[in-house]
Amino acid sequence: MSTSTSLSETGALTRFVMTDTDRKLILATQAGLPLVANPWAELGKQLQMDADDVLARFQAMQQAGVIRRVAAVPDHYRLGYRYNGMTVWDVHDDHIAELGAAVGELPFVSHCYRRPRHLPYWSFNLFAMVHGTTREEVESKATQIRAVLGDACRQHTILYSSAILKKTGLRLRK
């Protein structure tokens, strides 16, 4: 059983306790929701639960932040974005919070994180993922990121993916 803490709408800290039912629900939906008019009723049949309860637990997990969002998740590679560039940046620590947020707001950045350096092996502390139909497109996007970072960036590089060797969503331990 795992727990998590999140801010409720009133601003009070609430603790979300994941129940066995929630875990079953995650297992049943991590590969996708049923594409039928009422997916909750369909899930209810599988899990021997009431459709309303399924929907209520799902909404509770969303409210608690266990489910970040529900979406039609595109396969960017399949769509034609053949070039996946993990751009990594060595950004001055004093400015990273503000600049990381600015890079994350660029519409073409799919995710942007701060990670630790491991000197002398690894000196990059900001990661921003960009996608392109060509290498040039990825490079032009990296140039735009470079412009946002300005003098606070000492060096950067782009790690292109050459093969996707494994890719699954969250797989809850069974």
Partner: protein, 154 residues
Amino acid sequence: MRLDPTDQQLINHFQRHLPVCERPYLDISRQLDMSEQEVIERLQSLQSRNVISRVGPVFEHSRAGASLLAAVAAPHEQVDQVAARINRAPGVNHNYAREHDYNLWFVMTAPDNEQLDERLDTLENHLKLPMLRLPMVEGYHIDLAFDIDWEALT
């Protein structure tokens, strides 16, 4: 992959958020001015063509367990073996080959931080390669979606 304008619209509108309500596809159909059945059929078709990997929840890993991005620099002649070993390790859910000295990048997951460290230690011992461990310190944007430039794709 060529998609008709309606499919493009479906992805544009719903790649970030779908309504979580009793009849989500009916809700979508009203927003796009089509029938519920057409929404369902189009989503089924997009899924069967693997244009969308799923219509469903995106879980917050940190709330449902622990995860960490790690990398190793595998010697050129051993990349395939090392990659296979990583893929077999319990908890690994992503593994990408990248063009860099650190040429294998993977995400390790576990129920909690303690087990995460154990899994990473075990794998590192098996691989006999120093592992770069890069936990997320802060997330500035964790959407995983971006505006699709349909013009550029055609």
